[in-house]
């Protein structure tokens, strides 16, 4: 089996076999008190500087965005008419062929299953759920708004915006712990025996925030497990499919191919976008689904809009050109990100040595997931806030915004400059140490 980048962490009971607090635990109470006093003094010095840093959101830095500035001049009116169709006008609800082709090249999904859409894959996921609510997943299936009760599987830690949608729809969110190989599949297989469980959020590659990539075995089990609900659906958000930090990035199994082997291709709604390839919010999103699902979805999507922004699709094709050119662009982006991830991990290594934290070391994506001593994450967040550094809200990576162990922090190293990040991480290390020592009193 291929080696994936993410390491074990506290968040899964199953893999939480490592002894924690080794070093700090070996100290006497007096030694710990002395250290706490020393760290607190150092922390106060930072706090007095009145800093303002943001390590909270997975946004690209301006330096990365600059690499896509070619988009601004990439296109002329002639390019929009080059195929004979006039992309300036109405029509082509499934997107322009060249963009669907490029997505197919990049994601390895057959072109005929791909719709090239608007600027947001989140919107596609949300709208697909709304269609499930109002119309159901297909003919003969009950609209979900008519169901008494719906349960939904959330791999945790996970993406807050996913959880927020299904929470607002009134679903009961069930946490499934992330393991090194993806979601805890024994648990998933057990849960889907309940017909109220209608679906599941998955970020299968460089998962937000752990950076894990699902193993082939996990993907195989997801597509082949028997589900009590005939309309069970996996929302497969492949947001970081080509977002490798290193050349030997993780390899994700082909979900449609594996699903077809067992005749379960209707189970998958597949999403991706160029949001972190070109410009967040001004990119192109895609959705892919089986032919049977598309036959149901396309007329419903055609009710919603006459077509997505074909000019922006055409612009992206002019700029990204083909798979090879796009991957070269991704390597340039990775060059810009690599020092930031290295900086983050370098600082965190001190915490690991002290036995007071574990963290993932992803080979791609946008986040590092940090687990501090259980019961101290909120304290760390507070200390950081007081020092002027914004972290992602504790609990944001869990359903209902509650981390039951108060242990997980999502670090987003991309948006800050390297200098800001160095500073922020120095303070974070101090804050984690302070919170740990306080908890050991």
């Amino acid at each position: 089996m291929k080696e994936r980048g993410a390491r074990p962490s506290f968040f899964s009971e199953k893999i939480n076999k490592r002894d924690v607090c080794m070093k700090f635990n070996e100290l006497s109470a007096e030694e710990r008190a002395a250290l706490l006093s020393q760290y607190t003094a150092e922390y106060e010095a930072y706090r007095a500087r009145g800093l303002r840093l943001d390590l909270s959101r997975g946004k690209p830095a301006a330096e990365q965005l600059d690499l896509s500035n070619g988009l601004f001049q990439a296109l002329s009116a002639e390019d929009c008419r080059a195929t004979g169709a006039d992309y300036r006008n109405y029509g082509l609800g499934e997107g322009i062929p060249a963009m669907r082709h490029l997505f197919s090249e990049l994601y390895g999904v057959p072109e005929e299953l791909i719709l090239a859409c608007g600027n947001s894959s989140l919107q596609l996921m949300h709208d697909t759920l709304m269609r499930c609510m109002v119309f159901g997943v297909g003919d003969g299936h009950t609209p979900w708004c008519r169901e008494e009760r719906i349960k939904w599987l959330c791999v945790t830690p996970g993406y807050d915006r996913h959880f927020a949608i299904t929470e607002r729809l009134g679903f009961e969110l069930i946490s499934v712990p992330m393991t090194e190989d993806g979601p805890d599949m024994d648990m998933v297989e057990e849960l889907v025996k309940d017909s109220a469980v209608k679906g599941m959020w998955c970020v299968p590659k460089y998962s937000n925030p752990t950076g894990n990539t699902y193993s082939e075995e996990t993907v195989r089990r997801l597509v082949s497990m028997p589900c009590a609900a005939p309309d069970f659906r996996i929302f497969w958000d492949n947001a970081y499919a080509i977002h490798d930090l290193e050349l030997d990035g993780d390899v994700l199994a082909d979900v449609f191919a594996l699903a077809e082997e067992v005749g379960n291709e209707d189970r998958i709604y597949y999403f991706a976008s160029t949001s972190k390839i070109t410009f967040p919010g001004a990119g192109v999103a895609m959705m892919a689904a089986s032919k049977h699902n598309l036959a149901h979805l396309k007329p419903l999507m055609n009710l919603q809009t006459i077509g997505y922004d074909k000019i922006n699709q055409c612009r992206h094709v002019a700029f990204l050109k083909d798979g090879a050119t796009t991957m070269a662009h991704m390597h340039a982006l990775a060059d810009s990100l690599r020092p930031k991830f290295a900086c983050t991990l370098r600082h965190l290594s001190e915490l690991r040595a002290l036995g007071i934290a574990s963290y993932t070391e992803p080979k791609g994506g946008y986040f590092v997931s940090l687990d501090v001593l259980p019961g101290t994450a909120r304290r760390v967040f507070f200390l950081m806030k007081e020092a002027g550094v914004t972290l992602t809200q504790v609990g944001a990576t869990f359903p209902y915004g509650v981390d039951p162990k108060d242990t997980n922090l999502r670090l987003a190293p991309t948006y800050a400059t390297l200098e800001e990040l160095e500073l922020g991480m120095s303070i974070l290390v101090l804050a984690v140490k302070i919170a740990a020592l306080e908890s050991m009193v």
Copy 2:
């Protein structure tokens, strides 16, 4: 009261006082047979030419689109950072301030009520309806998917894509005839006494397809009428707000101002877009709603997307600049459209003289609504199709796609070239005459 452009037509019983078929009626059966034979021969000559013309959709012609080609080079990366915020990145779910300001200038709606969104106002209407279905119109209101039965008012003839959404949602569509002043308000006021009537489609200016503009009295009655359903909503699709053909275009009353006078501003969901200002499908759409409605809608819209395409909004601001520049652009577009409408009306005048048709003469918008003798519209459509000219499907302008009197044809003069239009209209006149004569046998 201001004079509005659209004239009476067959489609409203109330105003259908004109005597029809005067001229053809005065002829003897022999004379009519002779004419029919003559017209049929002329028609056959056209048919033999194997033409292929499309007068079916309200799409701008390439010549119009060319007037917006400045958009392609309007923007640089610097422009996207000029305000301090970086529009290339995530954020600003309500749209960029400059675009909201421009919309406010163009539509006379307060900026704080406006959201600048994606490329499609249809999408905003659809999504707003989906939110009504799943979440209801606001706190304390029942989601519409839980209602036993929902009825919806459709001003007819009207826009097929509006009707299609509410039909697919399972609403019972109720036709309300269009009059010269807008919907038949006596009928509307009667219908909304039924609490199952939850809303209404309106295209208040240069309505698709009649070109009528609602009178101030109509707008006033719409916002002030007592409605049995507390969650009654008017979907105010002001698609042609600034699309005048002449300088003395129709003036539409300020719906929010009139609604506020009577405390009913929550009744209005307002939509518009630049689709027929710049590029259809690659423009910017807007939604406006009362503060109270926005407080409910914005968190729900924030679930759906992190933000719309701010770069395209910025691009539009760079190109359209301000209200005055945009109106100059609209005048240039009108210059291109005016000869096509003139050509259409010139041909139709022969039919009016013969007493076998009535039609609207809009001062703006995208359509001319033609009423032929009741029972002959489908025959005209068929004759046109046989001659290679595609018209909008008969019935498309009515709920469920059925024109109960088989009388209405929507003419879309914009997309064809003037030469094609001349030819198409010549054939149409023949077809209407043939169908009329056939019906008099």
